[in-house]
Subunit: 504 residues, 2 copies
Amino acid sequence: MNVPQRYDELKTRLAEIHDLSKVTSLLSWDQAVTMPPGGAPARAEQMATVGRLAHELFTSPEIGRMLDDLAAYEQSLPYESDGASLIRATRYDYDRATKVPTELRGEMTRVASLARNAWAAARANSDFAAFKPFLQQTIDLKKRYVDCYAPTGDPYDVLLDEFERGMKSAEVRRIFSELKQAIVPLIAAVAERGEAVDDGCLHGDFPIDRQRDVCLAILRRFGYTDGEWRFDPTAHPFASNTSLGDIRLTTRYYADNLAPSLFGSMHECGHGLYEHGISPSLERTPLCRGTSLGVHESQSRMWENLVGRGRAAWRFFLPELKKAFPQLGQVDLETFYRAINKVQPGLIRVEADELTYGLHVVLRFELEQEMLSGTLALDDLPEAWNARMKSYLGVDVPDAARGVLQDVHWSLGYVGYFPTYVIGSIVSAQIWEKAVAAMPDLERQFEQGEFLPLREWLRENLHRHGRKFTPKETLQKVTGSDAVQVGPYVKYLTAKFTEIYGLS
Amino acid sequence: MNVPQRYDELKTRLAEIHDLSKVTSLLSWDQAVTMPPGGAPARAEQMATVGRLAHELFTSPEIGRMLDDLAAYEQSLPYESDGASLIRATRYDYDRATKVPTELRGEMTRVASLARNAWAAARANSDFAAFKPFLQQTIDLKKRYVDCYAPTGDPYDVLLDEFERGMKSAEVRRIFSELKQAIVPLIAAVAERGEAVDDGCLHGDFPIDRQRDVCLAILRRFGYTDGEWRFDPTAHPFASNTSLGDIRLTTRYYADNLAPSLFGSMHECGHGLYEHGISPSLERTPLCRGTSLGVHESQSRMWENLVGRGRAAWRFFLPELKKAFPQLGQVDLETFYRAINKVQPGLIRVEADELTYGLHVVLRFELEQEMLSGTLALDDLPEAWNARMKSYLGVDVPDAARGVLQDVHWSLGYVGYFPTYVIGSIVSAQIWEKAVAAMPDLERQFEQGEFLPLREWLRENLHRHGRKFTPKETLQKVTGSDAVQVGPYVKYLTAKFTEIYGLS
């Protein structure tokens, strides 16, 4: 079958919509990185206008007719082809986008905007009661949103699907339950060892311009180039891009703490490498991004933790780091390795170490489900939060600001988002196992400062596909199984922290 | 009459279109200032998509119907009201935008894109013949474009109108002829004085970071604030904004020459102050920009030349400058003032001094008219250029790169644009006369570092109107006459350079 004109029409329309989504990325990046604060009110209007136009273009009945007309053409193409994948993914997106009435979408945007401001004020005053009505509205709107879709038995499935297509609540429950079972005792055992690890070497006087130089030197080893990347400071780090040739990382510096910029920039670089590695044949299509938040997070976590908090990488980077910061001259590799892997159960998710991080997310996932199903009344939410923090991590929550109000997500209507963080960590270990099996001398390469072989392997086996396949199909391609499996992750964490903390 | 719903509908639609135009500004700014080069191909697509959507939204017949429906409402409002001005300006824009067939617009865009590349290559090789066919196509398209509008007796009027609404070729001819008559002998007299002025103090070793600090200190005196402005380095300086609260200036630094960054940043600041001073009631409307290129340039030239190259400002700034650059310690105000006003007839327009600049533009205006009317064949263009450079400025043009190929404008299809540069200079002197009359102690204020009174006067009398009124109406408001008058400008130049060069 020749390429029908309808296909070119669809591609042209989708390319325009993709352009608008990248314009939105730039508007956000600019607001976070370069815009003077006085630009904020107009910027909100600009983002709303571009978003609305993109939504209108995409949900127009003409797109639906094109998809109908192209059904036969899609069938004639190999499943794995760019063309079949484009039509397939667009049909999925179109069905989702057109199921939610414009009125409900507008209401969600309106409430999110109000709730975002209410949350910021409530957090500043540590006043959960002030945020509660907005959270209630958000939950109520989520229920109406769920009702737009065919019932799956578990309303939370619909929310999950938005961030991690195809993932089911039951599967997350099983995965997280396994994880909890393994990690809670491990954390307790580590806690018993008390101050066995000293991270004093990471605290001190670290001028920010030299931190930047060190981060950039590391990023360049990972694949960063001046011709196609940027690296800027910001308040809340993120990775963004306007095209495959324009990848933008951000990080946050503390003049008295080396860790956040080092591992934060590696983390964002993992996101950037994923997007940068997508096949150029997918540029200006809706396939030109990572397949899901979870798989995306597998890449950021891999570069941050499996590579970045590993011994091998630091055998190469530590001497470089010492050149920038002579006060580290006497710190040996073992001391440094232990310092960057120190476990310290704490109150704040975004400050959590690699081992305890997962439980912050498990807790949020459990509470989200209970709020949605109604088994947990919002009045009881703070207490439920605090009780679980004590039970999972052994910490006492002193106030709502450092407890239930710490994250922005719910105020924005992001319910079902948190699980993807830990799915990413779990998947990173699955992929890592395959990478190590394929390249047994990976760690020896790292010791030489050679990280590009890993990056090339990831590009070939994962990155280049972009969003051609579902998360599960993608996982199948890279690991040989479409199931998220906790085993490798638990094995990795157990081995690592048993050794560092001298557990039996 | 109550505000009809139609008016709100029109405002909403225009606000969206305005958002898109500001998004385009950001896409351009980002490309020039922050984007890594790898983003260029996709950026071109993004700009084209946003531009096309804005054009489609604006030229939709629905806008025409709204304007028709609002005719009575417009009549019911005072001419000077925001509402009447908005409807009036939109009708003018709509009539212009819908007169040009989509096919011709597309062809113009296509040829401009090809011609832009051909020009860059031709300039690099100083090969006019290579650019000639593209220039011919551009001129031919301009003729077709002119034919879309009602005949005015002079086809060039239509082109002028695009950049300087209401300006007629005959008027520009008269103005430029007067200017030429006054300036050519003045330049000749200055040239006879030979090396009477030494600008050696501006050349030397001026570290760029300190140049930046000095420029920023000056800009702050003019009204720049961190909360609403940015100031960045770039290759081809410009001013831009994404809203009234986000004004962005750029400049170019030479480590061995102080003048370009100093006066370039003052120039762009003049543009920025104009846009920043527009009434907030006009935000998100098509009235929220300067009324024309010429009036815009009057503001940049005023801050660059009348303020920035004046004695009074440097009585305040020179001591500051000496702190940053101790090598200037022995340079007295008079020496510095003469240095920054040195006249040196040269080949390149963008490097020209205040006195000779105008003739570069007069020459281009004359050639554009002759090309359009056909009295000058393109084969003869380089020779005509060179002959006039000799006659007006006394310089010999060695090659096309430093002659007829030096500017990008014609390749982009900007014919009728050049005159606005000099109209701006002329108008700046007209406005300056009024400002000095209204604030007789203006120069004394400058000597104290007080520039905000001038800025406030400009805001009140000019900036706040934005594009509510035509250029001529605007000129009437600020100077009491709607005519561009060469007198004040010639008087200013003559007095200034007669004194500096000790002419009789």
